[in-house]
């Protein structure tokens, strides 16, 4: 049984928010940190509470901690040692594994995210900007009262227009292929595969291997928790549009190039189901827009190129152990939209997203290392993911086509990693355990 009254809502439910704010914090005093956590933990809803809550709810709070943050709260060394190696090291230390090199390297990251002083994140999703502002002030007042609690940086987010569907700054529709956790009662959309064992995303449950992975200690801290990988990804919208113009003579050709990079038209319609021209009604229809496979429907990549973003991020029936690699995505766009026809203005805009998983090394790091950045994925030889891969202008992107393929050389980087971190997202009881550590720890 899934203990939805002990799992933070973030993992299971999606808030109906149009604004968000992430605050990155450092703790210089364990008692102050626990005072902050005590004051805030009551605002963190479990999945069960969120389901039962009135629709008038206007804000949703999520709290998570780095490994250093768990230590700063007073978790003992013996317990800390039982967490997985990659989580202990943190995202910045794993840069080479993740392909965070060159312009993406941690030395260029912003907001103190590469620092060992990063201890916690408070994620606020809000109904609108006014509610976010109210919460921001409330949190500012709380931080001022808590000894040694420092806000390292923060990031404000708003949905980008049009608001009728989720999309990024490039214009691609988002949230089309989300895994469903067994036991939540949610139904996967056609083509999304069956519900997955909870252990793929939440600690303390059987996973898709049929086993229950060993838990970090103590169990009160780890049970019903998840790992999240945070990524702040700048999107170079001006450069992206220039690229489309350089590689397509007409607006239709430009749209097709954009679709080939992603594997879907910007409307969300997958190229396998709409190979020649866009079909916005298909893109918007969850009963149809994810209902396809690769092995039978497009083995050579004539519709969706073998190296297209969605083919790498979810190879479906063309990858082994697919169910051991899935992740739940949460996030939002930040920065002002760049209106069509406006030249690049140099303002940072992008996506700030979280990938939720049961094992960072097996799920998130595998996706980064193998699917996104292995140059020889699907024997492509000299490609990385065209949207989020480590691009340095020397790689290519091949578009299979009869009679001969189109090969784009010198693909530019459309995105840059501006920061990231690994957090542990504890269950509700674990938050209270952390908040009261001093009360039952002899070392304090």
């Amino acid at each position: 049984m899934l203990e939805i009254d002990d799992i933070q809502h973030f993992v299971i439910e999606r808030a109906k928010a149009l604004a968000a704010r992430y605050e990155f914090l450092s703790f210089r005093d364990a008692k102050g940190a626990r005072a902050w956590l005590s004051a805030l933990s009551g605002t963190v809803s479990s999945a069960a509470q969120m389901r039962a809550a009135p629709s008038s709810d206007r804000r949703w709070v999520t709290l998570a901690f780095t490994w250093n943050g768990l230590r700063a709260l007073g978790v003992d060394e013996a317990s800390l040692a039982t967490f997985p190696e990659e989580f202990k090291q943190g995202m910045a230390a794993r840069a080479e594994v993740l392909g965070d090199i060159g312009a993406n390297a941690p030395e260029h990251w912003v907001g103190g995210l590469a620092s060992p002083d990063l201890h916690a994140i408070a994620i606020l999703f809000a109904g609108d900007v006014a509610e976010r502002e109210r919460c921001r002030q409330e949190h500012e007042a709380l931080v001022a009262q808590c000894e040694g609690v420092v806000v390292l940086s923060s990031l404000d987010m708003e949905a980008t227009p049009p608001f009728d569907h989720a999309h990024d700054h490039f214009g691609y529709r988002d949230r089309l292929s989300q895994p469903v956790i067994e036991g939540t009662g949610e139904e996967p959309t056609p083509g999304s595969g069956g519900p997955l064992k909870a252990g793929e995303f939440i600690l303390g449950y059987q996973d898709e291997s049929g086993q229950e992975p060993v838990l970090p200690q103590p169990e009160i801290l780890s049970r019903n928790g998840s790992y999240i990988a945070y990524r702040r990804l700048e999107e170079h919208v001006g450069k992206f549009r220039d690229f489309l113009r350089q590689n397509g003579d007409t607006p239709d050709e430009q749209e097709l190039i954009a679709a080939k990079l992603m594997g879907r038209w910007r409307s969300g319609a997958p190229l396998i189901l709409a190979p020649e021209k866009d079909d916005p009604a298909l893109g918007a229809d969850p009963q149809r827009n994810n209902d396809f496979n690769y092995k039978e429907m497009d083995p050579k990549g004539y519709a969706i190129p073998l190296g297209a973003h969605i083919r790498r991020m979810n190879p479906r029936d063309t990858a082994p152990s697919m169910n051991r690699r899935r992740m739940i995505r949460r996030g939002a766009t930040y920065g002002p939209p760049l209106p069509e026809g406006t030249p690049e203005d140099g303002v940072e805009r992008g996506i700030a997203a979280f990938l939720v998983c049961g094992s960072l090394i097996r799920q998130f790091e595998f996706a980064q290392n193998v699917w996104i950045n292995d140059k020889n994925f699907h024997e492509l030889g000299n490609e990385r993911d065209p949207i989020v891969g480590a691009q340095d202008g020397t790689l290519e992107f091949k578009i299979p086509k009869r009679p001969i393929r189109k090969k784009i050389t010198g693909l530019p980087a459309f995105t840059t990693v501006r920061g990231g971190a690994y957090f542990f997202l504890p269950g509700i009881k674990a938050l209270h355990y952390l908040a009261t550590l001093g009360n039952h720890s002899e070392s304090e």
Binding site: Q211, V214, R324, G381
Partner: protein
């Protein structure tokens, strides 16, 4: 004719000496260094002492693998293999196990897939008969990986008669040859 995909020439036999320095500079994979690709592709050699008296289990395992692959020829496909060899040998009255594999991908990338296959029924017996193998390996992938890496002995020299050619490329070439043969037969 060079293989354009890797700009590595399969038609020219090639040898590569692997120094300790080059191993020290190896690219970092998720579980540790990625041992460099050589003219003999990627590979590993695991050498470990077996628990005394367990030899029969290894011979049973061999029959299981033979049967398993016969029934399901793609059983090991995800590992992108060329060849595997298993040996048992004695040093000072103690029996050691050697397991060598030649792969098209570095082991780091498909570690969990390998564990998945070993977890499948009938294939899990052999490692459990090695000294020091973690008892909780099914639920503790990092411990399994650590054992494999601790017992891996990197090569100092590798040779390829048709260097860098992948299994897929070789199979494609053989399929093409068969197709040509068939075509010539049809032309009679």
């Amino acid at each position: 004719m060079p293989n354009n995909a890797n700009s590595e020439d399969w038609s020219k036999p090639s040898a590569k000496a692997i120094t300790k320095e080059s191993l020290a500079d190896a690219e970092q994979g998720r579980y540790g260094p990625i041992f460099p690709k050589s003219p003999a592709c990627y590979g590993f050699s695991i050498i470990a002492k077996i628990i005394p008296g367990r030899e029969p289990v290894f011979y049973e395992y061999a029959r299981n693998i033979e049967k398993g692959v016969a029934q399901k020829p793609d059983l090991l496909a995800v590992l992108k293999l060329h060849y595997l060899r298993w040996n048992l040998f004695e040093i000072n009255g103690e029996t050691y196990f050697q397991y060598m594999g030649i792969f098209d991908t570095d082991f780091d990338k498909y570690t969990e897939d390998a564990i998945g296959i070993f977890t499948a029924s009938g294939l899990n017996t052999v490692f459990e008969n090695l000294e020091g193998f973690p008892a909780d390996w099914k639920t503790n992938a990092p411990a399994f990986v650590k054992f494999v890496r601790d017992h891996h002995r990197p090569s100092f020299l590798e040779y390829g008669e048709y260097p860098y050619a992948s299994s897929d490329e070789i199979k494609k070439a053989l399929r093409l040859k068969a197709a040509f043969g068939e075509m010539l037969d049809q032309m009679q």
